[in-house]
Symmetry: C2
Subunit: 408 residues, 2 copies
């Protein structure tokens, strides 16, 4: 049996810190944003972790998300909640990428079928640890599904608000998993405004992206996992579908923590923040040299997961991308659809639209000379393609007169 | 990187053997059924494997399906095909099962979202190794999806026939993954008859359940994996949703092979073959003490994956169940639906209907005194619940006047 879920292990959180001002906040109590209105980051006594946890000790453990316990915020093992957060596989897509070195990290294998499970498993475990009994959250779909599943498991009530064009399957999944889900005639930030209002009224705890400090800690396991999978080095470039950007920020944090532990060196992948042309606030800010990103008006794209007009962690995303020597790239819907189609037809791997966007962005980056053909590259497929509409297939055959089988 | 996919490893297949008569067949050439019309089983030089492969060597490898290479039939590493066949997690469902010892093996995490990936990845790799260029197969849905994905990846053409009420998502998925899929106005065995006709005409290779020898070898990894996950012992009972029964037969074979290798002892789990009341040929034969099962007429159940009126491996399923001291159990649709509902609402785990059937069967077995409350039990959830219809969720909220938030 996997002892990561049952073994008591020491924890090393020292405090929380405003990501903009560096102001310190107490650990082990409930927080949303800092006084400056910015996300809080969890800080650890990395010196102590370094002394306690040699890399080999992690390597000897089962490979799931909870193997990283000493770098995670949950103090008490009884608060660990889990639906089986496996290490997601790296799948080569040689035919559609044209390179044997392009690997898709298939996050659709996580509980509830998306990488949102990483953030929400951690945030829900911390909510349990800190005594939260009622959570509300805005979502474009997958985050709400992950929240509902983990919160139901942990016995916490959830209210989930999503834009009214959220894929039907997500809405149903949230409800089935015990979340009270509402369709709202607005985008995700407008859903978020209602959640904020209810939180201010004391009706629930606000679980919006980066408005509570622990989703980022869960998402950072993507970075930890990549290092372990690559034998304690990192790929040359990472293409990450960027809505709220928690995962990109989380990976960047993970790399720094691992360097402080002596687990990896100072080399970093080029981080490519991938957005859709119809909603590209980070790309616009990146190109304008801005530190923050304005809200994107009239956002629209087939890749609903990255339809986030305004990201509260904008400056953290932009910093990481710039420090890494990467770029923010905007991809049109036709290129997104085409990339996903090529991948499933040629390599047999069904991507979600946001995953398709990363493959399209890879192609663009190649053309633009931002990376080389033989670079080792990781594309994040953030959710199972099964959650998204697929074209109809209509061929029929009569069992009593199947006719000339050579025509099938 | 995972070297299971790239390392050359010795292989130990000696021959194939008729599962009924024991007649020998050559390895390394194409076969369907034996002369007796029964499935062929792959045999290995287990003495040589025992000398070559200590258990610890397997333990040191990455945990995916290809770690078992010496117990698998693929000779040449270049024929290994893969979409990331991870070791599937064991997820406790304490609330809906009433016991901390009931674990769901969540096979929905495999490529294409079902355990069919295990069988088809192996069968497709062997088809590649043996030069097959065109495959046809009948399917209730998930097997066709797995076939299409792996075959497209391997550059092999596929024709897939499915009953006309196969879930829409499966049909679309097969088409999207490059399979030519037809809806047929009949059940899976009637689709199979058309496939057999075309195979007899030399139009394609017949990939029906157990009609080619290698799907069972892929499915047997469920048994190998369970032993490794349980620290080289086995659970007290296994509840397996049984249509064609390849997995049950495969696990039973795996247990025997591991005992021959000295990896486990002679203890075996009680094997429970779970069927739906509306299609229970194995249950009927089990209760009548028959060696073979008659076709079940007018088959119907919400659990389409186990709607198999006539299983060609019937006698192998019945033997394994009897030898194990287990039972074949038929569950009504209402109990299936209720079990799945309880599990997702209370434990946050979305099962497929066939997975729901195993939880319902567990409950029945408890009531009938076939197992004890504190027995360690594994239920197989054979596919992701996301592929199945979910009830509508219809609540709406107006962003301009969300109203009294205490009512959400």
């Amino acid at each position: 049996m996997n002892s990561n879920l049952s073994a008591d292990r020491p924890t090393f959180v020292t405090h929380l810190e405003c990501s903009l001002t560096g102001q310190r906040y107490e650990a082990d109590q409930l927080h949303n944003l800092s006084a400056a209105g910015k996300p809080l980051l969890v800080r650890y006594d990395l010196g102590a972790v370094r002394g306690f946890l040699p890399r080999a000790m992690v390597e000897a453990r089962a490979t799931d998300l909870w193997r990283w316990r000493e770098l995670l915020p949950v103090r008490r093992t009884e608060n660990v909640v889990s639906l089986g957060e496996i290490e997601t596989p790296l799948v080569p897509i040689p035919k559609s990428s044209g390179s044997p070195n392009v690997l898709v990290k298939d996050e659709g294998r996580l509980p509830t079928g998306s990488f949102k499970a990483r953030g929400l498993v951690m945030a829900v475990a911390m909510a349990k640890e800190l005594g939260v009994t009622r959570i509300a959250m805005p979502t474009n779909g997958n985050a709400g599904a992950a929240l509902a599943a983990y919160a139901s498991r942990a016995g916490i009530e959830t209210i989930v608000l999503c834009p009214d064009d959220t894929p039907e399957i997500n809405v149903r999944e949230i409800a089935l998993q015990g979340g009270r889900v509402y369709r709202v005639n607005g985008l995700i930030d407008e859903c978020g405004a209602i959640v904020a209002k209810g939180a201010a009224e004391g009706r629930w705890f606000d679980f919006s992206t980066l408005k509570e400090p622990y989703r980022i800690e869960g998402k950072k396991t993507m970075g930890l996992e990549l290092a372990a999978q690559f034998g304690w080095r990192l790929p040359k470039a990472i293409f990450y579908p960027t809505g709220g950007g928690t995962g990109l920020i989380g990976m960047w944090k993970a790399f720094a923590e691992m360097e402080a532990l002596g687990w990896i060196g100072p080399e970093r992948p080029k981080m490519f923040a991938v957005q859709a042309s119809g909603c590209a606030p980070i790309v616009r800010a990146f190109e304008a040299g801005e530190e923050h990103a304005e809200r994107w008006e009239d956002a629209h794209t087939v890749a609903a997961g990255i339809r986030v007009p305004k990201a509260i962690g904008d400056f953290l995303i932009l910093r990481a991308v710039r420090e890494s020597g990467g770029r923010a790239l905007a991809i049109g819907d036709p290129a997104i659809v085409k990339a996903a189609e090529d991948c499933v037809k040629k390599d047999g791997l069904l991507l979600c639209p946001e995953g398709g966007a990363t493959l399209a962005a890879y192609r663009q980056a190649l053309i633009d000379g931002l990376i080389d053909e033989d670079d080792e590259v990781v594309l994040f497929n953030c959710a199972t393609g099964l959650k998204y509409p697929m074209p109809k297939a209509t061929k029929k055959l009569d069992k009593t007169k199947p006719g000339d089988l050579s025509k099938l």
